[in-house]
Amino acid sequence: MNLLPEQYVERSKNKARGSRVAVSIIATLCVVAAFATHSRVAINGAVKKLVKTQVQANSALELEFDASSLELQKENLDSFIQRYQNEEVLFPMGDLIATLANLLPSEMTLEELALDVVNNEAGHGISGRLSGFGLSDDTIAVFVSSLQTKEPFRSVSMDFSKSRTVRNQRARGFRISFHIDLERPWSIAENIALVGGAE
């Protein structure tokens, strides 16, 4: 039993329907707002992550560039080492000086060593001079005769010997000349300079 006229029934239904639609719209808007907020937060997080990743990528690129440069330098260095190792040493100056140092007796002091490359009709060579002072002429003569027996020293001669005073003591100053022929093959043993009997 219902005495409610049809027009009022429809009115009630429409009102209820309208209210439900309004509530549905509000609920939908709330869901959309929540979804948008969540999306915004997610986007912000993704942007931060992207920036961080880009910074890391830049660092990685710089490192990779540095690594490439180092690799290139290493290759250049290896190439230079290889080239250096493949090249023959023409003039073993260290061995020459070590030979001189080992021949030099303790009574002698070397003040000057001069090497000049000379090119003349006699050929291509090095003209060397040694000057200093010694305790006596005998000592200097012994040094000269020893130097004459050593390769590659040739034409060893004492230019002069004169008296001089060193630390209130009498000594003999000297200058010795020698010649090294570069057009003739010679060999020299690898020497180590001994100072006072120790390396």
Binding site: N2, L4, R11, A16
Partner: protein, 353 residues
């Protein structure tokens, strides 16, 4: 607040009862065979001068949820007539009842809102009619106040629902009870089979008439007569006051008992099936020990107060003191799916058997 379709099966809408010249607003839910969260509020007001503000205030102070409501109208607002019509289809019955009501009320059929409902098995039809102008005066302020009436039913339908909440199964349709709804302005006698109303008769007896007779018979004022009537309701022991009330109301009680007996007899003659096994008294002026005794003697059956029914005992006394509570709660549960409940309960009973 908007009630969505889900959850409505158990939760009642707002029930509004136009009862005893005032408004009773109630709402309840039905769960596990008893009322739950029932709230009832009574408002004494002039029914013809209700405005949307009045409705708004009443709904706000009644602490009800939702805007959908069901109205229960008394015979003073909606005309109740029991017609005897030949067996016809429902639409034809309603059309015939509409013509008959228009003829009896001597008004144009188009100015009436009418409905008809077959009661009993003897061809009786309860026809209802209300002037559209009266209906507009009631409904328009309610709509303006935000209420959404979904149904308007007669007061007897709401009372029937309240008194038969525990008799909604198919197997309960053979349990017949009589109900005397005794209000302060009028009364009605109903016979219920299960949850179906099988007989209805509007009676002119009222609580106000009892008070008038007590005042007249004992020479006291109306307020004193009201207190005397209340005292005689509560106490069964014989004292001077109860004797005076009994003597003053004896004739009316006997008249009520006589009419009740006639109603029961009429039902028994015009309807097939079992007879009434008990008589329930409800209504704002309902329970009275003298009336119960007189009715029990005249009708030869148990007479019990409505609060003795198991499902009503769960209601608080504060709610039960509100006039028209039974109408408001009945209207509140008008959306309860009775057919579905009955089917499922019947299946359960069959399975249990």
């Amino acid at each position: 607040m908007i009630l969505f379709p889900f959850g409505k099966q158990r939760n009642g809408q707002v029930g509004i009862a136009f009862y005893d010249g005032g408004i009773t607003i109630g709402q309840c839910s039905w769960k596990n065979g008893t009322y739950s969260t029932a709230s009832i509020k009574r408002f004494e007001c002039n029914l013809s001068e209700l405005t949307s503000a009045d409705w708004r205030n009443m709904v706000a102070s009644a602490s009800v949820i939702g805007s959908e409501c069901c109205l229960a109208l008394p015979p003073s607002l909606a005309h109740h007539q029991v017609l005897r019509l030949p067996n016809m289809a429902d639409t034809e019955v309603k059309e015939a009842a509409a013509w008959e009501m228009a003829d009896r009320l001597n008004v144009n059929k188009g100015s009436l809102q009418m409905d008809a409902y077959p009661i009993g098995t003897g061809g009786d039809v309860l026809a209802l009619a209300i002037e559209l102008s009266t209906l507009r005066d009631i409904l328009d302020p309610m709509y303006e106040a935000g209420l959404q009436p979904s149904a308007i039913e007669p007061q007897c339908a709401s009372v029937t629902r309240t008194m038969s909440m525990l008799h909604r199964r198919q197997g309960d349709q053979n349990i017949v009870r009589s109900v005397l709804d005794f209000g302060m302005h009028d009364s009605a006698f109903m016979v219920l089979a299960g949850d179906s109303m099988m007989f209805y008769k509007h009676l002119d007896y009222s609580g106000n008439e009892l008070i008038h007779w007590i005042a007249k018979h004992t020479g006291v004022t109306d307020s004193q007569a009201i207190r005397m009537l209340e005292q005689s309701k509560r106490h069964d022991e014989i004292n001077d006051i109860s004797k005076a009330v009994r003597n003053a109301t004896r004739s009316i009680h006997e008249s009520i008992a006589t009419d009740a007996m006639k109603c029961i007899r009429h039902y028994g003659v015009t309807n097939r099936g079992p007879l009434s096994s008990e008589l329930i008294i409800t209504g704002s002026a309902g329970w009275n020990a003298n009336l119960a005794s007189t009715l029990s003697t005249a009708c030869s059956q148990d007479v019990l107060q409505d609060v003795r029914l198991p499902h009503i005992q769960s209601l608080s006394s504060q709610n039960l003191l509100q006039p028209g509570w039974h109408v408001a709660l009945g209207a509140s549960l008008s959306s309860l799916p009775i057919g579905q409940e009955r089917r499922s309960s019947g299946l359960k009973s069959k399975g249990a058997a």
